[in-house]
């Protein structure tokens, strides 16, 4: 009994210690998430998605029966995660979308506030499971810049080697899942097959297939394994050949072309307005590559 009280005191301390009031302990006591017994109309409206503010001007030919608001997600096979979209449809045409993105929020920044610099990469590596090494690298580079730490040349080389391999594997998954969504199912199998080669190497050198925590402030966790040159040579032999095959398979494919050409066009002005960079900006016809302009 006494112990229970202690725990309760602890919880109250953490809850009341913040000036904002924090979360309401009584409703989540002992971990049970209570459902609201009565939900007012607004709450239900928000949950069922009829809360979209209507500011779209319709053409006069469309009748009311052709328009509808559909709530898509938060769990939907096409979203690769949890994302809720409130979509307004006119027949088969999507007129407006309102994304609700909070479902995947994990509070990494708040977690990071309590970690030491050396623990940081453990946290940041979990932000993206496809290219974890990049998040580690960015965190390490920032920490080194703040603390004026110099990194050995060999560690720098290993970092670049590992992140480049990671980039290839990440792009292969992008091709694979992108192909899967568009209908090229065989691309999915091919992409994941080649990614396995790279993951095997990363596993050999860092111990884990993902979430490596291999790049740390000050250098890397461990040296490359013996005979790493042999593995890299094999990867470099296989990947370009396969990529050529994929190019032939996808780019000449009429279904692939039909589903991607003239869909979702972004002009350069739109990219500027919404702060879109990278491949999307280049695809809009503007020459901008961070690797060349701001190396």
């Amino acid at each position: 009994m006494n112990e229970d009280n202690n725990i309760k005191d602890d919880l109250d301390f953490w809850a009341t210690n913040s000036e904002e009031g924090g979360w309401n302990i009584s409703s989540t006591d002992e971990g049970s998430q209570k459902m609201l017994e009565e939900e007012d109309e607004k709450q239900i409206k928000i949950q069922t998605g009829s809360d979209v503010v209507d500011d779209y001007v319709y053409s006069e030919e469309t009748t009311d029966d052709e328009r509808m608001i559909v709530n898509m997600g938060p769990q939907h096979p096409s979203t690769h995660g949890v994302l809720r979209l409130q979509v307004e449809l006119e027949g088969e045409v999507v007129r407006r979308v309102k994304p609700v993105i909070g479902y995947l929020h994990t509070g990494m920044e708040k977690t990071g506030e309590e970690l030491a610099y050396f623990q940081g990469p453990t946290n940041t590596t979990r932000m993206d499971y496809l290219s974890p090494l990049f998040n580690e690298l960015v965190f390490s580079l920032t920490t080194e810049k703040l603390l004026d730490i110099e990194v050995p040349e060999r560690a720098k080389a290993i970092r670049i080697l590992m992140t480049e391999l990671n980039r290839i594997s990440s792009h292969l998954v992008a091709l694979a899942t992108g192909g899967m969504d568009i209908g090229a199912l065989s691309m999915m199998i091919f992409g994941f097959r080649e990614r396995e080669l790279i993951l095997n190497f990363l596993e050999k050198s860092s111990g884990l297939r993902m979430n490596h925590k291999s790049i740390r402030p000050g250098g890397v966790a461990a040296d490359l394994p013996d005979n790493w040159q042999k593995d890299i040579k094999e990867i470099l032999k296989i990947i370009p050949e396969k990529l050529k095959d994929y190019g032939e398979m996808l780019l000449d494919n009429p279904i692939w072309q039909g589903r991607l050409k003239n869909v979702g066009i972004l002009t350069t002005e739109e990219c500027f307005a919404y702060g879109i960079t990278g491949p999307s900006l280049r695809a809009s016809g503007f020459s901008w590559d961070l690797r060349k302009t701001q190396p």
């Binding site: 602890d10 919880l11 809850a15 904002e20 009031g21 979360w23 989540t28 971990g31 993105i101 509070g107």
Partner: protein, 137 residues
Amino acid sequence: MSLDEINVEIDQYFKTVEDYKKDGYEMMIDLTAVDWYRKKEPRFEVIVNLLSVSKNSRLIMNVPVPDEDLTIPSICEIYPGANFYEREVFDMFGIKFENHPELTRILMPDDWTGNPLRKDYGSGRIPVQFKNAPKVD
């Protein structure tokens, strides 16, 4: 590539951003806030990160927000991409943006109380089911 950092007063903020947009800073890359709890006055500072692709330069703008009224003009009219960033800052730090088209919580649930990224907000002590295993005598 050049990188400039400037401090802007809050009443000059909207006009300064407008001027920089005319001056060739086409993109708003980032908008965030810092909580200098008990370290600096005023407590909150909004940081805007602009990029000019034509001049190949970046600009970092620090805007202190007065404590008594946590309100700052919204720059959604100038850069539409600022919409979600401002909603995030509102959600995480509780800074209000004037003339924002739809200022609601973006990451946390709508009925949440408090602003998680403030430094005085306790972290990670949510009661967890099955945390304390029952004692066996």
